[in-house]
């Protein structure tokens, strides 16, 4: 037989999946139909390798108005307002063309947000790169950052936060996770549903070209040097077009002209059409002759799989088509009726009267096979726990070590990155990037919305369950540290090849930890994205379940920032410092090794710490708050001193080694400063919250950071340290 002997191969399906399709359809699907199954049943669209594990995540709560399964999750913020938010990966496109890959990643997530009826008001980005000394990595870093900046800046959506880490595991496979949040009235949520038989299906925005064809299945394969030919045409982002599309879309939603809508992302018309019909339990047809094309001669399957950017699919009552066209005309955008909602449950593609494909929509969306992959504990897991940490414990030049640490790629100032992003447009950014979390005021109210993204992937690699729980706890603590109550989270689960049992073990354990922490901290998961096959030359990235956390503060007047405010203020360390140097940044800096036990986490105490911060902010007891993370107490103190160029004199009494006291990464710790007159009230609140704490020192006006620990002493000149910290990343990134 010809190529027809294994027709599933060119659609990235397996033989057993093909047989499943035969059974469902009761006949042999044609090429186009099989292409539809190929993309819809890919991991990227169908979540076939992840769904079984994602079911563990808590998705409900009184604050949740829309959980996973829509374009984005929606939570209630108070005062009649709701936020739509989501995070998504664009890793493989960014590996190939960093500027456009990152830009279109931003564009895609923005469309998801305004498709819910929300006006996007903030973006964040979580980025991972290889060793920054490598020239290729420098180019990726520069390309990705300017791609994100140029797209978001042009859209007028402030990029207010994110995180950037470097580690060799990301060398050939960087991570670009983009998050966007939009604001809407809580009673005006739109959904991606093709409801109402006879309603018109409209395609609006850009023309369709041969962009990123098969991107969805491409995202479901590993990268290697050899697959140049397999690579799809890079999608080029047009933020100007997207800005117009956003304004036009929000205008028609404001005018109540739309039944349902969805953006065209991975697998383009196929996924948006099938998903909209699938959710509504309806059918719909599209006439491919009516799809506006950018170039002649696109084949049926190319039109259906094109990932041309800046397009949306609308479902509209027939009487409102004209009004919609008028709005899109004003914005110089195309809006074309290409089909209708039907009652037969089929996703039907036609050219004129000729039917090209007809597949029950729910076969594509709801009948994706779900795989419970085999998993096994990798050998490194037990071995790494037994690491010898004495090298780090026995260091002596603590000041020198602090300088090295603060100038290291992972701890140095991120200003070089966020200063390339317009983080102020919109006039809502009341806490700018550079602190624990960004805070935006919500127009018309006193409320503020805090956002943070986080994941220490070394922790996750060394202990996926605990590491993922720490990522959630850390993101929640970041939000609480500005005085906001953590509300809900989105995530981007970046892993290697799930067909490898040891990678799948990471995935299973990490989702266990994520679920446990999200439940304990009452921050349900309202959506997100899974990105597998993040490997290069058969080496997987660190498992990286990035968490995007949001929270609300009732009155922005009570917001907290991390910088010390005034000489004479007292410094209190809340939390417990243990002998925890395992998996730490300082140990990695000294040895280049990713090893040791991951710091312990008491989720119940973490929840109480968050509540304490929210309460302390509300009572205006604190002058500053800063969560301790990589680099421990010493790095945290330095970060608190930098903003207003103040000093600190501190005495550590923790029963641990000097190295652990200065640089250990014990979890659930916060550095706070306050005027002395608030100390009594603070102590009462801490006692009530049952949180261990110690009054460890004072803010000074000197240009000096001093930490005493028994006979050991760390002393550093702060202005020199600030220069080292500020200049490290721009220097490292320079091409």
């Amino acid at each position: 037989m010809s190529a027809g002997s294994a027709p599933w191969l060119e659609h990235n399906l397996t033989q057993s999946e093909y047989e499943l399709i035969l059974g469902l359809m009761g006949r042999e699907p044609n090429f186009l139909e099989l292409a539809l199954f190929g993309v819809m049943w890919s991991e990227h669209c169908g979540y076939k390798n992840s769904k079984a594990q994602l079911k563990k995540l808590p998705t409900q709560g009184p604050q949740v108005l829309q959980g996973p399964g829509e374009n984005a999750g929606v939570v209630y913020l108070g005062d009649g307002l709701a936020a739509a938010f989501k995070m998504e990966s664009h890793n493989h496109p960014s590996a190939i063309e960093p500027y456009q890959g990152a830009a279109t990643g931003v564009g895609g997530i923005i469309r998801d947000i305004f498709a819910m009826g929300a006006r996007p008001i903030a973006s964040l980005n979580s980025l991972r790169f290889g060793n920054v000394d490598d020239n290729h990595v420098k180019r990726l870093l520069n390309g990705v950052v300017s791609g994100i900046g140029d797209y978001g800046n042009c859209m007028g959506i402030p990029t207010v936060g994110g995180d950037v880490y470097f580690h060799p595991s990301y060398q050939g496979n960087p991570l670009v996770n983009a998050m966007c949040l939009g604001l809407m009235k809580a009673d005006k949520i739109y959904r991606g549903q093709a409801a109402g038989v006879g309603n018109v299906v409209m395609l609006v925005g850009a023309r369709t070209g041969r962009d990123g064809i098969k991107g969805a299945s491409f995202a479901s394969e590993e990268l290697s040097d050899l697959d140049q030919d397999k690579r799809p045409n890079v999608q080029v982002g047009d933020p100007f077009m997207e800005k117009l599309l956003m304004e036009a879309t929000l205008e028609i939603l404001e005018k109540d002209l739309v039944v349902g809508l969805q953006d065209l992302g991975a697998a383009g018309l196929t996924s948006s059409g099938a998903e909209m019909a699938g959710r509504a339990g309806s059918g719909l047809y599209m006439d491919l002759d009516l799809v506006p094309l950018r170039e002649k001669g696109l084949l049926d399957w190319e039109i259906m799989l094109s990932e041309s950017q800046e397009r949306m699919l609308l479902v509209v009552e027939p009487s409102k088509v004209e009004a919609i066209s008028e709005v899109f005309d004003k914005w110089d955008l195309l809006a074309v009726a290409i089909g209708k909602v039907t009652s037969d449950g089929n996703f039907t593609l036609r050219r004129g009267e000729k039917v090209l494909a007809a597949v029950p929509a729910q076969f594509l969306t709801d009948r994706v096979p779900i795989y419970q992959r085999p998993f096994s504990e990798p050998a490194y897991y037990q071995a790494a726990k037994k690491a010898d940490l004495t090298v780090t414990q026995n260091q002596g030049d603590w000041s020198g070590l602090l300088f090295k640490l603060m100038a290291s790629p992972n701890l140095s100032s991120r200003a070089w990155v966020y200063e390339q992003y317009d983080h102020m447009v919109g006039l809502n950014t009341v806490v700018r990037p550079g602190g624990d979390a960004a805070l935006l005021r919500l127009p018309g109210t006193r409320r503020g919305l805090a956002l943070s993204s986080d994941c220490n992937a070394r922790y996750v690699y060394l202990d996926p369950h605990l590491g993922a729980a720490i990522a959630v706890a850390e993101a929640a603590l970041n939000v609480a540290a500005v005085g906001a109550k953590p509300l809900a989270l989105t995530n981007c689960l970046n892993f290697g090849n799930p067909e490898n049992p040891e990678i799948y073990w990471q995935f299973v354990k990490a989702t266990d930890g994520l679920a446990q922490a999200a439940k304990a901290l009452n921050t349900p998961v309202t959506g997100g994205n899974v990105s597998f096959y993040n490997e290069y030359d058969k080496r997987a990235i660190f498992p990286t379940p990035t968490i995007g956390m949001i929270g609300v503060i009732e009155d922005i007047e009570n917001r907290l920032t991390h910088g010390f405010k005034k000489p004479g203020h007292l410094i209190v360390l809340v939390g417990e410092s243990k002998e925890e140097l395992g998996a730490s940044e300082v140990h990695y800096l000294l040895t280049g090794r990713d090893e040791g036990p991951v710091p312990s986490l008491d989720l119940e105490r973490a929840a109480r710490l968050n509540d304490f911060l929210v309460e302390a902010a509300k009572k205006s007891l604190l002058a500053s708050a800063h969560d301790l993370a990589e680099g421990g107490l010493a790095a945290g103190l330095a970060e608190c001193c930098f903003p207003l160029n103040l000093g600190a004199k501190v005495k550590s009494e923790a029963p641990v080694s000097a190295a652990a006291a200065f640089f250990g990464e014990s979890q659930s710790r916060v550095l706070i400063s306050l005027p002395e007159e608030n100390l009594r009230a603070l102590k009462a609140l801490l006692a009530q919250s049952r949180l261990p704490h110690g009054l460890i020192g004072q803010v000074t006006s000197e240009d000096r950071l001093t930490i005493d620990h028994g006979r050991e002493k760390l002393e550093a000149n702060l202005s020199d340290l600030k220069v080292a910290w500020s200049e490290a990343l721009p220097r490292a990134a320079a091409l």
Binding site: I96, E97, Q100, A206, G209, R210, D211, Q228, R231, N233, V234, Q235, V236, G237, D238, F240, M241, R294, E295, S308, Q309, D332
Partner: protein
């Protein structure tokens, strides 16, 4: 010998060119109805030293392949002239 290379980098025909499309619309809206397709590219002029024109071409091609153009979305053309 010194050579001047002109490397013209254009987006591949199948790749979206937002700048070109916007310029096309702008020219039309200014009343120039006879405008056809507009594409925007880059012209990179560089001077290099080589034994002969063949070597120069090889070098310039390599630079264009490795850095100046991204083959995932662009192609380039190269002209070379010897400099006095």
């Amino acid at each position: 010998m010194k050579f001047k290379a002109n490397v013209k980098v254009m987006l591949k025909p199948s790749v979206l060119d937002p700048q070109g499309a916007t310029l096309e619309r702008a020219l039309k809206s200014m009343g120039y109805d006879n405008v056809g397709s507009v594409r925007v590219g880059k012209l990179i002029e560089l001077v290099l030293e080589s034994e002969n024109i063949g070597e120069a071409e090889k070098a310039a091609n390599e630079w264009a392949d490795r850095l100046l153009a991204n083959h995932n979305m662009e192609h380039y053309s190269l002209t070379l002239e010897p400099l006095p």
